[in-house]
């Protein structure tokens, strides 16, 4: 090999090795129906992190964990002063999640780094494989906690105080996980990042439908999330008349019904979801005293998203009847576009590898949203069978997964040159 020519890292990506690592990770928190339940900062999450650290050490990578629980594995570069190129995603899943959402981005970065090492030329800048803490937000809401704190978009102290349904705080759960990772050194906050690239399954059916292998992600659809608390009064199901009741459930369903009617468009682009709906005291013969429900609202057009989200509070208030309602916005994320140079780099890498590709908008949120605020960021999608995701049936072929890792390997290699 002459100086000046580059052995492209993509040539060293090993489909089998990547598939085996994914299978090993899928065994941690495996569900009966072939999915994965590995919620943020659980014992399963800790076990997945330990497994990753072990693989990294075998490859000579240096692990570190920052204060919010993001896990990094560093391939040192030739220039000790260069800011690192970051690549990764998350290891946590939804309660009945799949085998690819999140973990694929971490292991694709791992495969890319192993391929870069095998390509024989040491990169100038360090490359950090990263597993962001709590992307999903199902145990501790809202999600993307690790990337948000890394990017300075949320306060560490606020995030540490968030509690799950059992009353366990992030701080406490993090201390447990940290205990199991006690041999991994801490990482200082505020380190620069030269760039971030995240590989992910599409979580939609588009690439598969069109027979394409690579999605060059143009940006991320905006999202506003809310929690709604409806307060009524408990009463006996057999004795209290409707006129006397302050039934929190009937008020809450009137709100959800009205929201579903209003937050809807003929083109079916608005995404409106009520995923949680918790009733108190939850007894068959007691009129509900309170309901807490969640709202997840998305639209690729930021202006429209803003307008739709602004309807939530007045609609809830209009349907509260004799109950009280409190609407709290948990997170507001406008739609964003990844920088053109990063998209070009990904598109060119796919083209060089003769992989059929297209530009595509991410309708799901990702940690890349927050990294986009602090460094040039891009995303690579691979197909997702039938678009099924956040469910146990999630599936992507090993060949597609390896192709995504090939594109990622070449892009990371260039970025770290």
């Amino acid at each position: 090999m002459s100086a000046g020519t580059l052995n492209r890292a993509s040539a060293f990506v090993d489909e089998q090795r990547l598939a085996e690592r994914l299978a090993a990770m899928a065994r941690i928190g495996a569900t009966e129906k072939g999915g994965v339940n590995r919620q943020a900062l659980s014992q399963e999450d800790a076990a997945a992190q330990l497994l990753l650290v072990g693989w990294g050490e075998a490859l000579g990578l240096a692990p570190s964990v920052d204060a919010v629980g993001n896990l990094f594995l560093r391939l040192e570069g030739a220039d000790a002063n260069a800011a690192p190129v970051l690549s990764g995603s998350h290891l946590d899943t939804q309660p009945t999640g799949g085998r690819f959402d999140g973990v694929y981005g971490v292991l694709a970065a791992f495969e890319a780094v192993e391929a870069i090492i095998a390509s024989g030329r040491r990169p100038r800048a360090p490359i950090d494989i990263v597993a962001w803490m709590n992307e999903e937000g199902s145990r501790f809401a809202p999600g993307m906690m690790g990337s948000a704190v890394f990017a300075g978009a949320r306060e560490l102290s606020t995030v540490l105080a968030v509690a799950d349904a059992q009353g366990t705080t992030v701080a406490s759960a993090l201390a447990d996980v940290r205990g199991r990772l006690r041999d991994v050194p801490g990482r200082a906050a505020g380190e620069r990042a030269a760039a971030f690239v995240e590989a992910h399954i599409e979580q939609g059916p588009q690439l598969e439908k069109e027979g394409l292998t690579i999605g060059v992600v143009t940006g991320i659809q905006g999202k506003r999330t809310f929690k709604v608390r409806v307060d009524g009064e408990a009463a006996h199901a057999g004795t209290s008349t409707r006129a006397e009741r302050r039934d929190a459930l009937l008020a809450a369903i009137a709100m959800v019904q009205a929201l579903a009617d209003a937050l809807h468009d003929a083109e079916d682009i608005v995404k409106f979801t009520v995923g949680r709906f918790d009733v108190q005291p939850s007894a068959p013969s007691v009129v509900p005293s309170a309901v807490d429900f969640s709202i997840d609202l998305r639209h690729p057009d930021s202006q429209l998203l803003q307008a739709l989200g602004d309807k939530v509070r007045p609609i809830c208030e209009a349907h509260a009847g004799v109950c009280a309602v409190q609407v709290t916005e948990l997170s507001t994320a406008m739609s964003l576009d990844f920088p053109a140079p990063m998209r070009t780099r990904i598109r060119d890498a796919a083209a060089r590898l003769d992989l059929p590709h297209r530009d595509i908008l991410s309708t799901a949120g990702h940690d890349a949203r927050y990294l986009h605020g602090v460094c040039p960021t891009g995303m690579i999608f691979v197909p997702s069978h039938r678009g099924l995701t956040h469910c146990e049936a999630e599936f992507t072929s090993s060949a597609d997964l390896a192709d995504g890792a090939r594109v990622l390997a070449d892009v990371l290699q260039e970025l770290a040159l």
Copy 2:
């Protein structure tokens, strides 16, 4: 005292003693807001039963427990062959229940028996104070398990196999409670009952509104209960379009809304309640895959109740949309009238004591429903402040509670003569 004249037991009822026993019971499972959480076959339920057994033994009453966990305290009568007169209610509460629902009926019977002993004449028939197992049905559904099995209306084996939300069966919870009551002898099944009288708070505002002290209960409103299972498919909140979704929550709320509209009358007599509404997987960014909800439907007119209940399945099916729905009827109890002689006996006792009273229908279900099937049965109501019940704010004055016990004491004394 000459033979032939009767020292009425009511003269020996002690308001203070009854209030103190109620306060002692209210400490077992006390909630922060002044209510009680003492669910069936919990550690708190067992503690309440132990306390009752201790009080009974101090009074010379003989405790026994039958196979389904009903607890009896017997005052022996003069005639060893006479069938016992029963009186009592239940010690279990709703999760955020009050200090009177159920336990008052048990302690009113206890106070009545203590007064009968103090009145100096030993009754001919034995009197059994009884605490029926699991009236509320909030932990193990449906409720009134103990009285239903006692009356032969439900199979013991079926009831023992019912599991709570944590998967604990009645059989297993019962074994734990039985362990704490191991010194209490078992009681054979199938014993006769001469009569049953249950004292209870009204659980409605009528007596208080009219300034009355005693309700002579004419009968019990009928009730049909259902569980509904809605199955859809989990999907990603950001990527799946509405057309692609099978959102179990939106289908379920459409059902509940349609049921609320249909099961409603201008006179506000129909009682329709959805007390439980459990969503799977219950994550903010996952489209719900399944919902389980409960329906509690009541009406004093059995024919109308039948007709209204028959609408439940077709309405649910009509609103299932792309989801699947399964409607299961859990219990059917038609409206019933207590026998006139028992009502007369209660009315006369109240009149003799100069207590303002009226006939009243019980819109709530009670263990008396099942006893009505096997022996002459009646119920005595005392006022319930604002009709608040199945909640922590439940309240009845000590004076009213004592007056109810006075009527009960005289009625039991007569029945056991």
